[in-house]
Structures are given as structure tokens and as C-alpha cells.
Symmetry: C2
Subunit: 345 residues, 2 copies
């Protein structure tokens, strides 16, 4: 944490992200712009997901929707982790999840992927960020997929429970895998630096599928390339957040990544994981299923999470994306719980 970066006049979210043990926990919610909001569903009836994510005015509108309802402490640009791959020459359909027309499974397919110039990568996301910075009163988080997670979709070809083709590819074609991951790291570096240049004030790197591997595989194919991306962002002046889910068996490796914030899923309490991440801010980790229950249960469980988050910097979030069935009034209630919880007493 840099002394210069922590300024008391910075917004709560950024102070916590830079390592300050703040008096209140800032809160934002993964997928806070999305299907649980009737105003999002209304837009979704008129536009496809790709139209929403690919049109700066619409993507900005969707990003702003939860901010109009709720006093959230940060926003995150509405985008998809897969779209940057199109600038490498990959054809992706959404039906509704991403489907890769030609899955990448050999050296020739890896070699055919071009690494684009940074400014070629989804310029509509940069436009969205610029619009949002003019409109927003809270910090804006940019994001991208970690190389291993992008490779997971590229090799498997579609969403999957197990991603078995990626798992076999890493073991059977390690050279092609390394070449692919290195190209994806270069893509991510360009993409995320462009987001910062456009105005993103923090970067979250999603390694959503890291948890399917053991520590040895993760070190070789995951952490190495996540580190390459995150190191390249070291001088950008924005805090870096890393998120993997179902990955508690990898926390010793994740602790070595050059990030300011580690996002933790709901499977392990924050006070239990805190010692594994010395010097880092923890983000998380209420079970999103709690948000489907009722205000009483939400208060009880959120308070448990807030108490477990004491003893170091904490950004409150769910342990994973909010479910589409979540009543919006439960979100209002959660934010009130978090904001009224005094961390210093």
C-alpha cells in the first residue's frame, strides 16, 4: 500500500482497497447491474445481452441502474469477460452463455490467434467507462478475465460444469497451453490498461475457474499468467482485486499474487482466511443465497460476515454474483446493515 495513494479525502471504497482499515465497510455487489432489477429486465426485453454490453450508452445506463436505487460504494462497468477475445479473431455467440465457434485445442489454433493493439480491444467498453466517469459519484471498477479463465472457455468451447477439455489440454499440450496463456496475458494487459486510461479507478481480475485445478497446475498455468497481468498494472495507480471461487485449496498460492485486494467466496469465513493474506484487503463474502431469504436472516448473516471481517481492511460483497430471484428490497436492507455497522467502537 502506497502512502501517497491513501488519502483521507478518497472515497471509502478506494481507501479500503488501498489497505485502510476503515470505520465502515464499503459495499458493492457482484452482478449489481443485472436480472434481479426490473429496470434491467425491461431493457433486456428490447435489446440482446450483446447489444446492451456493446453499446456505450446502454452499457452505461445498465451500470447506473443499481446506483440510482441504492447507496452503493462502488460501481462496476457492465461488460462481458469474453468480448475482448473477439479482437484476437475468436468468434463468440451468446446462447445465452458464451459459445466459441472454433474451440482452441492445438498449437495451430493457438498460433492463429492474433494479439491486437490495445486500442483495438473492445473500444465500446472504453467509451462506456468515459460516459460513466462523467455520471458517477462513486468509484468505477473495471475488470477482465484472468488468462487461465479465458483459456478455460476458449478450449472448452462453451460453459461446462467440469471444463474437462481444458483440464486435459493443459496436461497433454503444455507447450500450446503456455503459448495460449501468454497471448491471453498480453491481451488482458492491453485491455485493462486501456480501461484505466479511460477512467477505471480499480481493476478486478476474474479467475472464475481457477478452483478446478490443484495447486501444482494452478501455479504453472494460473498464477504465473495472473501475475504477469497484475504486475503489468502495478504502476497504473489503481488497486488490483483478484477473485477466484471454490478456490480455498489455492489460497497459499493466491496470497503471493501482486494485488491489493483478494475476493473470497462464502465457503470460508473471513476471520479464518485473514491470516493467509497478510497485508491484503479482503472482499466478500456473504452467501448470495442468503439474499433470497428474509430481512431477519439477512441481518443476522451480514452481521456475522461484518464481524468476521474485522481486524483488517474489508470491502463488503457477496461471495459470488447476486441471484436473479433476489428481491431488490433485500439489497436495500443489506446495504443499510453494512452501512450502520461500526467497525471501530
Amino acid at each position: 500500500m502506497s502512502e501517497q495513494s491513501v488519502k483521507s479525502n478518497q472515497p471509502l471504497f478506494l481507501r479500503a482497497a488501498w489497505g485502510e482499515d476503515t470505520d465502515r465497510a464499503p459495499i458493492w455487489i457482484m452482478r449489481q447491474a443485472g436480472r434481479y432489477l426490473p429496470e434491467y429486465r425491461a431493457l433486456k426485453e428490447k435489446y440482446t445481452f450483446l447489444e446492451l454490453a456493446g453499446t456505450p450508452e446502454l452499457a452505461a445506463e445498465v451500470t447506473l441502474q443499481p446506483l440510482r436505487r441504492f447507496p452503493l460504494d462502488a460501481s462496476i462497468v457492465f461488460a462481458d469477460i469474453m468480448t475482448p477475445l473477439e479482437s484476437m479473431g475468436v468468434k463468440i455467440d451468446f446462447s445465452p452463455g458464451p459459445v466459441i465457434e472454433n474451440p482452441v485445442r492445438d498449437v495451430a489454433a493457438v498460433e492463429a490467434l492474433r494479439v491486437p493493439e490495445p486500442e483495438e480491444i473492445t473500444p465500446f467498453v472504453m467509451e462506456t467507462i468515459k460516459i460513466l466517469r462523467r455520471e458517477l459519484k462513486v468509484p468505477l471498477i473495471g475488470f477482465g478475465g484472468a488468462p487461465l479463465t479465458l483459456a478455460t472457455y476458449l478450449v472448452q468451447g462453451s460453459g461446462s460444469k467440469e471444463y474437462e477439455f481444458l483440464r486435459q489440454f493443459l496436461r497433454a499440450e503444455p507447450e500450446a497451453a503456455h503459448l495460449l496463456l501468454d497471448k491471453l496475458a498480453d491481451l488482458s494487459i492491453g485491455y485493462l490498461k486501456e480501461q484505466v486510461k479511460a477512467g477505471a479507478q480499480a481493476i478486478q481480475l476474474f479467475d472464475s475457474w481457477a478452483g478446478i485445478h490443484d495447486a501444482e497446475m494452478y501455479r504453472e498455468f494460473g498464477a504465473k499468467y495472473a501475475t504477469k497481468v497484475l504486475s503489468a498494472l502495478a504502476d497504473e495507480g489503481v488497486p488490483r482485486i483478484y477473485i477466484a471461487v471454490k478456490a480455498s485449496h489455492l489460497y497459499d498460492e493466491i496470497a503471493k499474487l501482486p494485488v491489493e485486494v483478494v475476493s473470497v467466496d462464502w465457503r470460508v469465513p473471513l476471520d479464518q482466511v485473514r491470516p493467509q493474506f497478510p497485508g491484503k484487503t479482503l472482499q466478500g463474502n456473504l452467501d448470495p443465497a442468503v439474499m433470497l431469504s428474509n430481512p431477519e436472516v439477512i441481518t443476522r448473516e451480514a452481521t456475522k460476515t461484518l464481524k468476521a471481517g474485522l481486524g483488517g481492511p474489508h470491502i463488503f460483497n457477496l461471495g459470488h454474483g447476486i441471484f436473479k430471484y433476489t428481491p431488490p428490497e433485500h439489497v436495500a436492507h443489506l446495504i443499510e446493515c453494512v452501512h450502520s455497522f461500526e467497525r471501530k467502537s
Copy 2:
């Protein structure tokens, strides 16, 4: 481990299951009877899954198919963990995964579930076991779903990535949840005792979805009822195997279960988990995706698993079910690797 139970003339699988650090590791494969075998797919063209699992002669035939091809050290009866629920009055369709006509989500629905007499529970499974014991030269494993995992399907209503309704149900309706889990434990006890009576020589309890919970939730809703079932089998004279996947964050709790064998998925190496399970046999844990690669990679990775399994009793298996794309000749190759590996030298 009981001194009486470990007899040197017992089959290799049972000796290892009872805690003997055998000279060779026995091997069986989760879903060894299934879609990767052309002879299974041929039957599947003529019969539905429910016809195969529900007709003793067909279920026995399917169970025997892999044994005719491969020198496996154990067999496991072909059945489905959901079918016993039908004897409670639950209507289940397979399309192709299980779909519950009326998901159980309140006290009234829980109270409406009857706990059947043991002999009412899927008598066709007991018939299958009897046929198999006449045919088989290797030990036969019986199995059932752990209460929390059965509840997971019953409450969610169908297969799901997240089982969010079960997760919210446990938190919002703990009393109904406990009543449900207790009834499911009674069902499982009856079901598994009947299997032993019919001839099953080991019992594997599948807690496939335990890993979606944190340790506190698992203790209250998972381990408590798994323990009830497993304790009731203590005097049945068969080794008890427990399997949960994606559950390394729960191993401290799982270590307390009254079982002889813990099955481990591929995410953590056996030598690393061994100290967490003193006195238990470890079962596992080759990544099933390795089986999609090639003989060279299979040899390398299986040897790694075999070496990590040294230092205590080990039953070789995959870390999860075999994939349907697996070439059968890869299975033959794996078994050869395992059988030729000398554990004492």
C-alpha cells in the same frame, strides 16, 4: 480398523478399505459402468436409464460390463441415489437429470414425506445385489446419498450449478430442514442396511453437494446427519466410504465422520491430505480429465497419484466420475499402471 476384519485372505479392496497398507493399491473407478463403454451405450439405445437401473437383470448386466473388460478390484451396484426417495412419496422424472415434481420447501411438505419400512425401499436394488453376488469375483460396493445431498435435490427440485434454494432454505427454515434431514437419515439407514443384508460388502455414502457449504453450515446440516447414517452402519461388518467433492475446506469436519475410507477429489494431493485423516484409508484421486489425454500422460499422472498415496492405506480411483468421452483402452492402461506399481519395495 478391527483386527478380526483384516484377514489376509480377503480381497485386496477390502483389506485396503479396512485399513491395511497393501503391497498394491486396489483400483475401481467411479461410474465404471457407464457411457464411456460402447456396450453400455448399446443397452442405453434399447432402454431408458430408469429401466436399466430399475430392472435387476439389466442393472446387474450393466454393473458387470466393465468387469468383463477390465481386471478391476471392486464393483459398484448400478443404481441412482434419487430412486429411494420415491418410497417417501416423492415423484421424480429423469430428463435426463432428476427433476422433482414438487420440490420440498416448507414444513408441510417435509411432514408429508413418509419414512418407509426398509424392505419397501427400491427392492429391485436388493435383487440386483443378490444377482451380482452370485456372478462377481470381486467385492461389491453398495451406496446411497447422504441426507444433505438428498435434501439438496429435493429442495432445489432439479440439478443446478448453485443449489441456491437449498442454501436459502437451510438458513430461513432451519427447523423444517432438520426435520427433513432426520427423515432422510432414517431412509438412508434403512436403504443401506438392506443393501448389506442383500450382500453389499462395502458402503459408499455420496455427499456430492456438501462442498457448497461453509464448515459451520456443514457441521449443522451435513456432518450431523451423515454421522447418524454412518454410525447406524457401524455393526454391519462392512467398511464405510464417504465422498464429498470440492470440499477440501471441510476436511477437518469430514475427518470426524465414523468411516474407514475417505474419498478425495483431485484438487488436493493425497500426501497433503493424509495428515488430516489419521487412521483412515484414502481413496482417489486422479483427475478424470487425465483419462482423456494419452497413455504417456496417464502413466505420468497415475504414478504421481500412486506415489502421493504411499504412507498409508490407499484405494486408487479417479477424483470424480469418469467422463463419457474416455477411450476404454485408456482405462485398461490405467489399471495396468496401478497394478504394476509396487507400494512396498
